[in-house]
Amino acid sequence: MASRWWRWRRGCSWKPAARSPGPGSPGRAGPLGPSAAAEVRAQVHRRKGLDLSQIPYINLVKHLTSACPNVCRISRFHHTTPDSKTHSGEKYTDPFKLGWRDLKGLYEDIRKELLISTSELKEMSEYYFDGKGKAFRPIIVALMARACNIHHNNSRHVQASQRAIALIAEMIHTASLVHDDVIDDASSRRGKHTVNKIWGEKKAVLAGDLILSAASIALARIGNTTVISILTQVIEDLVRGEFLQLGSKENENERFAHYLEKTFKKTASLIANSCKAVSVLGCPDPVVHEIAYQYGKNVGIAFQLIDDVLDFTSCSDQMGKPTSADLKLGLATGPVLFACQQFPEMNAMIMRRFSLPGDVDRARQYVLQSDGVQQTTYLAQQYCHEAIREISKLRPSPERDALIQLSEIVLTRDK
């Protein structure tokens, strides 16, 4: 399953909004009223990190939906955190602009890490580091580094080692994309041909291995054994996530837990562990390390959940590739799993991985007729809410606020 973070790069339509907290007092809870809003916050507060082991997800989501029937709409989400934009008193700013201040020359520096004498291998390895996107993962890492540094000792200085983590995160991610494209036999990415289509599968696999080895060298040169262990976990998670995708679960609850575990390993682990790594480099307090990790984990999962939603809701033109990509790969994502509750006949299709003629189209129709998209979006909102709750524990700073905004951007993007 290819991650679709790249969608963010192309024609991103998000812009800083001029809106104020809205009518009424700054602390106003919104249409839900004080008691209902308090109930939502109380419930969210009790579920730190949305621990998988606490309650089956299907039942959890059903419970929340029935308790708060009106909170499914995305626009409502902003009212649950009215204080987020005014808390630090800082001027509202574009989190991408803020993050890029520490990331200038990122792609040039990555290319310097790919020290290869063979021109073709170098060209292949550099191919996806074209600097045309907004680099969602490095942005989060750079903002987290500053947020943790300020929290620790009000330091405005970003360490070279912290910036190196952003570079390494991008390299590990790209290496996995190169291999994912061969595994999925993908033809295009970011609106251009994939490495495997241009140079063939044999060489593409070596390009991915080469990027990984270069990232490992850069990681070793940071010289911190704790950070090496943290990021090595990402590499392991990426592979295990791919293995999880090979298998299927028959039990409904197991299936959902399986999906979320795969989502964590394939998408969220890199963000969570990179955030943890920069916090380790910037601050000795393990409480802060956990905050950074939890923020990254929750934002990362939400990111992927919305990615899976967009597979059903975005039109082909916006995506730059055909919709229903995951169904065609035989994968049941969040919207499908939710839809299956309303249309049990989807069970058989899920088990045969949508392999019969017409399965993909029929499954897509079932999803669109169901509230699967709505439920998945709601779940993503819960994860973002948890991410904001975690990051709010840090001392106020423009970067902390930017991270809060980023978690909202994750929810409202359209590609």
């Binding site: 063939g200 044999k202 090496i228 295990r240």
Partner: protein, 399 residues
Amino acid sequence: MNFRQLLLHLPRYLGASGSPRRLWWSPSLDTISSVGSWRGRSSKSPAHWNQVVSEAEKIVGYPTSFMSLRCLLSDELSNIAMQVRKLVGTQHPLLTTARGLVHDSWNSLQLRGLVVLLISKAAGPSSVNTSCQNYDMVSGIYSCQRSLAEITELIHIALLVHRGIVNLNELQSSDGPLKDMQFGNKIAILSGDFLLANACNGLALLQNTKVVELLASALMDLVQGVYHENSTSKESYITDDIGISTWKEQTFLSHGALLAKSCQAAMELAKHDAEVQNMAFQYGKHMAMSHKINSDVQPFIKEKTSDSMTFNLNSAPVVLHQEFLGRDLWIKQIGEAQEKGRLDYAKLRERIKAGKGVTSAIDLCRYHGNKALEALESFPPSEARSALENIVFAVTRFS
């Protein structure tokens, strides 16, 4: 299920051999074959090589402590073993790689890890280290050095597996259904990535950033070396237009760097100084080069070589033959050995044997062997050092 049992179960999943292999990926297979089957190729007498290896094993405390490659017992690789069965009947090279690991398992797994362990023992603890860490030394080898030996093997096997990816647009219908070949690629990528992930995890556990950097750079070297093996010439010819010096650079990357840097890393783990580290590196480098040349020479010196036996057209004797003869004459000879678009390897072999390539390759093998022995002189006399010398004697022996 221990490692040996796991390997013994694999043949059931692999089934019978398919039809003869196609040339379009045979360079990789030749390399895999030459890498994997050191036993039969290292000397005229297999018994001699087996004896050298067997005695070396006793010195380092084989096999109980080494044959534990823990990640191979995981659910993931059990899953892969099941999946590989689906490839039976196709020409996917992953089948050949898997069979190679089974049949040549002792040679595939033994030599690199074994050399790392031997050089660890030969070097012993450094003066810096004598006062501490002795508690985890078994048979004169630190546990972290044993872990390093495993990591070296994991990286080696991972790239063996990644060598076996096929280009989908070069497939022929007789190779097997496209869907199955695609699936073979998927499994080959995943299993190689799995082994690399475990190697990375093992490196992190060593808690030594210099060693992590060394092994990561060895992986980068290895990838570049394998890339060169895979590169089809831009000309229409089937051999590269390179001299022996370029061949040596590329072969160091694909066959020497991992062992050389692993030997150096073993010294770093025991806190030896730069001089000792360099000598360990040199031994690893030259021994690996010597061994590679030995295996390249085998098709030209065995008396009962089958006429249908193919050989790597970019191996040391062939490259040297071309260098002596000149590119144009070599291309002409290849043309003369082609009948109806099919290469007559027997005829080509005779042409090469008539030239100076083979004897020069043997000389080069001995040159590298001697350089390896020189490096060993920096280590105090011991049975481990003798075992390392015996390995060199075995790979430079052609009688």
